[in-house]
Symmetry: C2
Subunit: 304 residues, 2 copies
């Protein structure tokens, strides 16, 4: 049974580090679907897919590299983080049930604790405590606040104090999400923050939308950075239109966008349905997908 | 080597006729990717794919059924037509070159002439005369004008007079096109025609766009019916935006759209790039496509 894993590492400035991650993943026999290093966020994200036990093997090997090479006492970035290997989500593909992804996060958590002495917090579908459902809550306070927090709130696996240089890691089974950034025609961070507040679910905006206003200086423009955690409900098209509408109200516009990680095929089809005003667009209506229906469906990104 | 074929039949009111077409195609060992019967246009379109020689075999068998069952002396529709099996385009897939699709159209033309006594006009890349490049020119005058025309303009294969009940057939190798209809919030055909005139290439509009204003009465709304014959240059997104802009100028809007036949994967990716303002979206960025890259590319819809 197949899963996707999207490990996040708190190092995005050294291309050779990324290269070593990719080599390790490939040696473990998993597919490296994507690699993104972001110097502004000082963060790297790999998208892996493969048979569950091979993915766990690869993730242990990648985490070992991160723990060896990254020292959070000396590095920073604009993205909140609590560990050298910061977050490891595992997502069901094809017929794999969520329970299988959860089982893999437990296997992975135990190994990261035993083999690398990392404190492991289980989140989302893997969470054993309600307060650990939400990743943002698990990561609150970041690396700097970790020792204080862990003194009263021990992890699910591993030592009850942070790893001195590598912090702690959040591991969780979840459904796929769409991570998408819209850049605006301004350098005014307050504008991006105002739009993020309007569109995100936590302020009464769109269901399943998490949003932050950020300013990655090397891009020369602020961004509304979004996670669509229920993209079948609030689609990528709806989220981007909402950002564009709020932007217009503030006299700026969306000048370009970027996808972080990969898109589930359904999210792509939803975009075309929405903007083309098609009542339905299915894989049977796209030549290459029609002819590879069985193969495409066998690794279909899972959803509730 | 694989090709797609999109035979058009001048009968769209009898679902059992469609069913018999599908059964014959499947018996010939080709994939039936899509089937569309349109009572308004009195027209059916099949989308087939498979190895070239099997596709030719299937097309001969389908044409035989159409010649047996359709009598153009007794049927009409809003779509111009000159034959019971009216047009048969063949499109290269994967690494198949255009020359291979052209070769297949000659094989097919000879067999339709010999086995079914159909006059065959070769068009587009298969045309042997410059005046037959453009399908609209080949079909001008329709079934009713065929006898007069053929008296001075004999076909490429077959008898020099129309088949009494089945007319003649246009067979041509071409690159894929996107056939797309936008329905408008009006029943006024002159509005659809005015928009079609604005967007189509022949009136100085968008490159590679053919457009007609039509009123399929059962739909309760007029449509701008488009063929995008160079969809990598003028993308589906651009064409739909142009229609929407012209519509707004005439105080109507695009209420829904429909795809006729299938979409090449690249056209789908282009739509998302355009509307999401992504500088690039490739198959490697979509989970299911990334994991099936080789399979998807092996049947990739050809383009110049």
């Amino acid at each position: 049974m197949w899963v996707e894993a999207v490990p996040n590492f708190s190092e995005g400035t050294d291309p050779s580090f990324l290269q070593r991650l990719v080599e390790r993943a490939q040696r473990s026999g998993v597919f490296v679907m994507g690699v993104e290093g972001d110097p502004d966020h000082n963060r790297s994200v790999l998208s892996l897919a493969g048979l569950g036990h091979l993915v766990v093997e690869a993730l242990v090997s990648l985490a070992e590299l991160a723990v060896t090479e990254i020292d959070l006492r000396r590095s920073r970035g604009i993205h909140p983080r609590m560990g050298a290997v910061d977050v490891i989500p595992i997502v069901p593909l094809g017929p794999s049930p969520m329970a299988y992804a959860v089982e893999l996060t437990h296997q992975l958590g135990m190994r990261l604790a035993q083999e690398l002495s990392l404190p492991v917090f289980l989140y989302e579908h893997s969470a054993r405590l309600p307060k650990r459902k939400n990743l943002a809550d698990v990561r609150r306070g970041g690396f700097e606040g970790l020792a204080t927090r862990m003194a009263i709130d021990p992890p699910d696996y591993g030592p009850s104090a942070p790893h001195p240089s590598a912090g702690a890691v959040a591991v969780g089974a979840r459904w796929a999400l769409v991570a998408f950034n819209c850049y605006l025609s301004t350098q005014d961070l307050s504008v991006a923050r105002a739009i993020a507040r309007q569109v995100r679910a936590s302020n009464g905006g769109l269901v399943g939308v998490k949003a932050l206003g950020l300013y990655p200086k090397q891009q020369g423009a602020v961004q509304v950075s979004m996670n669509l955690v229920d993209y079948p409900k609030t689609t990528l098209a709806q989220a981007v239109e909402a950002v564009a509408t709020e932007a217009a109200r503030l006299n700026v516009e969306v000048i370009r966008s970027e996808l972080v990680g990969l898109l589930p095929l359904q999210a792509l089809l939803d975009v075309a349905e929405h903007f083309l005003r098609l009542p339905h667009l299915g894989i049977e209506q796209v030549v290459e997908l029609n002819l590879n229906r069985a193969a495409v469906q066998s690794v279909e990104v899972g959803h509730p």
